[in-house]
């Protein structure tokens, strides 16, 4: 790919890039940052801010204890990538007996409560960042799937593969029951081919636009025919898989010859996915997307090509993460505070920084609901909004909602302390003065939470 082609593919693939024009520029960094004078000289960030940058990019939220404990950015990176602590076992949620029971099952509290707690407290920081990244990448919404238990099962599948192999994750998600409902895979059969999954698999999950045409969409759709989900109580005949598992049913499959990306054969789902995984654009596109997630800037063409080529060899996610983090750009001034902090990151950071009441989870999710940024409810298959789109007035003012999670008896923090608890260490005089001007603890914290500094990450 030429750099121009590559840029065009990123543009088309990734909504966040389009909605984030600021990313296209060489980041102007800290122009005018530490004073309010526009002509101020560009400043460099402090070591503590740099450590906080590492903590919040490689995990969710700027855990103040981790920022305080790290001796250096390198130390913070090592902590964030440390996976030696075993994961906390997920709650045991019983499978619903039948379809009607599944539609009625209300497990959002244990599911989202568990997830939020892991984001806020898990020592496996990078795993939580990746679980979120994959949810955003393979964005599946409960709004269409309707069955909370299947969203929970998909979440567990993401956890199983988040730090493993992208190839395994792609194969698992393609036959995941929630995905089969979300992109109509269960409707996709020999005599009634449904293109929904086939198109998005190529456009959003693997290669990205510019590498396939309409005949490839149809070929992928035909290859993926024949998958169903065993919904208990829905069928007369027992299926040879456990309830709520997916199953390949040969008589619904189109076993004919297809030509996909120039490869002709009697492809099934795995064959089609292998062809996509073999295409260099898949590795390069996914690697570049993870680079943007962690670094906040696009990789230059040479870096993108290098990361893609390496990723394509074995699709090991942690190897890719390590290579991205090793890029000097990751710790550079240009990368710091170059992303708009998401509502989820704002909320998790608040929970990590301040004492909360026992109903905090409910308050957090009410705040996320207000701005339609609830895990398991992405607005569409392209995932959650990002970039300056998150600076819309509605999203900005509803950041105040998260204050509902705080205990009312917080001690009044100094202005700098209010920021530091949120992982913000380099603060403009103006912003410090605004927070210092409030006299109650909740008002100070609310203002730090909605400051320009905390609005970026």
């Amino acid at each position: 790919m030429t750099p121009e082609e590559q840029a065009a593919v990123y543009d088309l693939l990734d909504l966040r890039v389009r909605m984030m024009p600021g990313l296209r520029e060489s980041a102007p960094g800290l122009h005018g940052f530490l004073t309010s004078a526009p002509e101020a000289e560009r400043m460099s960030y402090s070591t503590r801010e740099r450590i906080s940058h590492v903590v919040r990019r490689l995990g969710i939220g700027a855990r103040p204890d981790l920022v305080d404990a790290a001796a250096s950015p390198a130390d913070a990176i090592a902590t964030a990538l440390d996976l030696s602590t075993p994961p906390v076992p997920p709650p045991d949620i019983p499978a619903p007996a039948d379809h009607a029971a599944a539609r009625e099952q209300r497990i959002a509290t244990p599911v989202l409560g568990y997830w939020l707690e892991q984001m806020a407290t898990s020592p496996r920081r990078i795993e939580e960042r990746l679980v979120w990244f994959w949810h955003d990448h393979f964005a599946t919404s409960l709004r269409k799937v309707q069955i909370q238990y299947l969203m929970w099962q998909q979440h567990l599948t993401m956890r199983d593969h988040a730090i493993g192999s992208f190839a395994d994750l792609l194969r698992a998600i393609s036959r995941d029951p929630a995905m089969l409902f979300f992109l109509d895979g269960v409707q996709n059969q020999r005599d009634a081919v449904n293109e929904n999954f086939g198109r998005e698999a190529m456009e959003l999950f693997t290669m990205g636009r510019g590498h396939f045409d309409e005949s490839d969409v149809l070929a992928t759709a035909r290859s993926c025919t024949g998958w169903v989900v065993n919904v208990p109580g829905r069928r007369d005949r027992a299926l040879p898989v456990a309830p709520w598992q997916s199953l390949f049913v040969p008589f619904r499959h189109d076993g004919g010859t297809k030509t996909l990306l120039g490869v002709t054969g009697r492809h099934d789902m795995d064959a089609a996915l292998d062809i996509m995984l073999d295409h260099p654009a898949t590795a390069e596109t996914v690697a570049a997307k993870l680079y943007v997630e962690l670094v906040g800037l696009r990789p230059d063409p040479a870096t993108a090509a290098r990361l893609g080529a390496a990723f394509r060899r074995d699709y090991r996610v942690m190897t890719l993460v390590e290579e991205i983090v090793a890029d000097p750009v990751f710790l550079s001034d240009e990368a710091i505070r170059v992303r708009v902090r998401t509502p989820l990151e704002k909320a998790v950071g608040l929970v990590q920084g301040f004492a909360t009441h026992p109903e905090a989870g409910r308050a957090v999710f009410a705040g996320l609901e207000a701005v339609r940024y609830v895990p398991l409810l992405p607005p569409n298959v392209a995932g959650f909004p990002s970039g300056p789109r998150l600076l819309g007035p509605h999203t900005l003012v509803h950041a105040f909602d998260f204050v509902m999670a705080l205990r009312p008896d917080q001690p009044v923090p100094e202005a700098a302390e209010a920021f530091a608890r949120l992982g913000v260490h380099d603060v403009s005089e103006q912003s410090l003065a605004v927070v210092a001007g409030a006299d109650s603890a909740p008002a100070r914290i609310a203002l730090a939470l909605t400051s320009p500094e905390y609005s970026l990450t």
């Binding site: 088309l12 940052f33 709004r143 969409v217 819309g392 103006q430």
Partner: protein, 454 residues
């Protein structure tokens, strides 16, 4: 450049005491600086792909003050063939099979409306509904995201560019009025993102009011303090400056917006006709078009007179499966929404000041996939209002001459835009779209189109 934002804010209190009124007045001055002084630096970031600098406010003329365009974006790709049904074409039933609309409300012996569009069908003979058939663009792209981008930017294949309505706003009101452009839905629409203008986005009638705990006793004071983060903004396209400008504009818009949404102008919900509980419920429920257009009606009738209200993020028109029931529900929502909206604006005597226009990234595939329809190309769009020239426009695509199974467009979507820009918004289409496009006779003249059997 007129400073609407300043003049609309309350006067400051006596000097000395820093009261909230004093602060708000000061904020007005700040906003004037923030929004006007950094012309060309959008809160959305300056766009390097844009070949030309942002047009200075007023360079496109004043536009059409007092008029509002309401855009209804049917995201996911609305099935135009089942909204305005070509029931006389034998190919329609062959292609659609069980998905074919069995009992459309006939308009002229050739086409009919989906049966859920009852009130639109009642408005059609009153010349209030323009049906534009065959709207699409050359070399259609069947990706949601590429096609949305085409519709948003007004340039097929363009990505990363400003939105067509954003450019209109840049060249008319610029940054002078933070309430000229309002999105109802999840975040500002990309169609409205310009290089200098500002888009207020709200979800529902609560406007821009956060939910804060009772132990923070003065929300206005808190939000007043919040605006202080932008008191001395960084004059830079960097994100930090963008956040400050967004805070300033939000703070400036908030109170006026709250007043407008609370105002008595819109028909109160309790005025819904007796027995119409279903509609009342829909209008109250955020996330439906009926709920969103109810908010739009309040804005239009409030005295704010926004230039553009853009409604998106309701429903899911991407009907790959389960289409019959899902599309019926969507059409019912559309019908109730439009009816409720016009009932409100008519009651307020504002019917001649507003036009509703639909958009959608594409129509659906002509042939059914068994339970739904996959992505398609050209589709039918509606323009509704007392000033439109009701009847049929464009030309229906030939169901017997599909291209790769898809309808071939007969009207370029930029013609629709050009018509609305010149005929309603008071701008030259070439200024906004970069070139002239054929316009359609969509706005009322004395010669009405024949309505009824042909």
């Amino acid at each position: 450049m007129t400073d609407h934002s300043l003049s609309a804010l309350p006067e400051g209190a006596d000097c000395g005491l820093v009261t909230r009124r004093h602060f708000v007045a000061g904020l007005g001055a700040t906003v004037a600086v923030v929004l006007a002084g950094v012309h060309g630096i959008s809160i959305w970031g300056r766009n390097p792909h844009l070949a030309l600098a942002a047009p200075p406010p007023g360079s496109f003329g004043p536009g059409a003050p007092g008029r509002t365009l309401v855009v209804v974006e049917m995201g996911g790709g609305n099935d135009g063939l089942n909204m305005v049904v070509p029931h006389a074409a034998g190919a329609y039933r062959d292609l659609r099979g069980e998905l074919a609309v069995a009992d459309p409300i006939d308009l002229d012996g050739e086409i009919g409306l989906h049966p859920a569009l009852e009130s639109l069908a009642a408005r059609y003979p009153r010349h209030e509904v323009a049906i534009v058939e065959g709207v699409g663009y050359p070399d259609p792209d069947l990706s949601h995201f590429a096609s949305m981008s085409t519709w948003w930017t007004g340039t097929p294949g363009a990505v990363g560019a400003t939105g067509w309505l954003g450019r209109y706003l840049d060249g008319t009101v610029g940054a002078t009025d933070p309430l000229a452009a309002i999105t109802i839905g999840p975040g500002p629409s990309a169609a409205m993102v310009g290089d200098a203008s500002f888009v207020v986005s709200i979800q529902d009638a609560t406007g821009l009011a956060p939910r804060i705990p009772p132990w923070i006793d003065d929300m206005d004071e808190l939000l007043g303090a919040w605006a202080g983060f932008a008191a001395a903004p960084v004059d830079s396209p960097a994100l930090f400056g963008q956040v400050q400008r967004a805070i300033a504009a939000t703070a400036a818009a908030r109170e006026r917006l709250g007043t407008a949404l609370a105002g008595p102008a819109a028909a109160p919900l309790t005025d819904a006709p007796a027995g119409d509980a279903r509609m009342d419920r829909r209008r109250r429920r955020p996330g439906t078009l009926a709920g969103s257009l109810d908010v739009a009606a309040r804005l239009v009738t409030s005295g704010l007179a926004p230039r553009i209200v853009y409604v998106h993020g309701f429903g899911d028109f991407d009907t790959h499966q389960g289409q019959v029931g899902r599309h019926e529900a969507l059409m019912a929502d559309l019908d109730e929404a439009v009816d409720g909206f016009f009932t409100s604006v008519e009651a307020a005597g504002r019917a001649k000041d507003v036009v509703v226009m639909t958009t959608s990234e594409f129509g659906r595939r002509a042939r059914s996939n068994g339970s739904g329809t996959d992505h398609g190309t050209a589709s039918t769009h509606l323009l509704i209002g007392a000033t439109v020239r009701g009847g049929r426009h464009g030309a229906p695509p030939d169901l017997g001459a599909l291209q790769d199974g898809n309808l071939v467009h007969t009207v370029d979507y930029r013609s629709l835009y050009a018509t609305v820009l010149t005929g309603w918004l008071g701008a030259a289409a070439a200024d906004v779209l970069g070139a002239d496009h054929e316009t359609l006779p969509l706005f009322a003249t004395r010669d009405r189109l024949p309505i009824g059997p042909r």
